[in-house]
Assembly symmetry: C2
Homo-oligomer: 149 residues x 2
DNA sequence: TTTAAATAAGACAAAGTTGTCTTATTTAAA
DNA sequence: TTTAAATAAGACAACTTTGTCTTATTTAAA
């Protein structure tokens, strides 16, 4: 798995949040139920998105989550970094330290190319763009083939 | 991490084995010491390579490991499959089941392209080719910048 | 002001992966 | 035939990730 499960959940939750355009704060409970993700686990993940400056949260009744910035300008990469940290994509495929700097591992160049193309895509694709695709029914973010998400 | 640590160790061990061209059986102990991999952990991994038909092992004095077939014809992919199983490369990036069959996840196409190119490379690159690169000193398979491997 | 709805924080459990150790078995060589 | 060198097998420990639960705190609305 290139991405951790936490990261996957975070991406799906962000897309869900972007689907909700009425300006209200969305409770984690609602997200967890609709996406079938463990509530408490998801709250922890969302705290990372909060401290990463991607979403903001408000406690209490009518509280919940909202984007800190326009999700039009939030890339998938930002979410990955907020949750899995900055070096998910800079690790050597064979786990060798300083692979790029010292003598490289045998798969360095091939892996570098592949990971660069993934990184480019993750930087380009915004949360909003994915939400739009979900809206038009082209893709899904739930495990079951749910007509809504 | 795209590959498990077991898988990484397996690849490195296979390359080490390919470096040893004198026809003798190589003890796991020697591999583990030279590559700085836990001996018992490595024996387990090598058992997977054995049951996967990649190497053969002989017990007792002068025993050890040897390739079952010419490492000229053993691809990295075969090693990955023997250790991490067959669907390491067919998992959905967002963990959705049947992503390719049912309505896909939002990153399906992008991920599919990237993973295809990695798969092609893994299928093309042989254990021997890597061993040759290690011999000529272009790449390394150890954590420290060891002049030998 | 009280209550219900919400996040925050962190302890804890479960599961998976990684790593260690012990015992049994096999084999070549002394 | 005995011994030392090797793998086989699997129990078990440590660590990491994932998931559950409880308590505290905050906030809007009744």
């Amino acid at each position: 798995m290139l991405l951790s499960k936490s990261c996957i959940y975070g991406i799906r939750a962000a897309v869900y949040l972007a689907l909700n355009r009425n300006g209200k704060y969305v409770p984690v409970r609602e997200i967890s139920e609709n996406l079938d993700i463990s509530f408490h686990f998801l709250t922890k993940i969302c705290r990372k998105l909060s401290s990463g400056g991607i979403i903001k949260s408000i406690k209490g009744a009518q509280g919940g989550l909202k984007f800190e910035r326009d999700p039009e300008n939030i890339s998938i990469m930002e979410i990955v970094i907020a949750i899995d940290g900055n070096n998910r994509f800079s690790e050597c495929l064979l786990g060798l330290p300083d692979c790029g700097i010292l003598k490289p591992c045998p798969l360095h160049d091939d892996w570098f190319d592949a990971i660069e193309s993934i990184k480019e895509k993750f930087n380009d694709i915004t949360v909003n763009r994915i939400a739009e695709e979900v809206r038009t029914g082209n893709v899904r973010i739930t495990e079951i083939n749910n007509p809504d998400f």
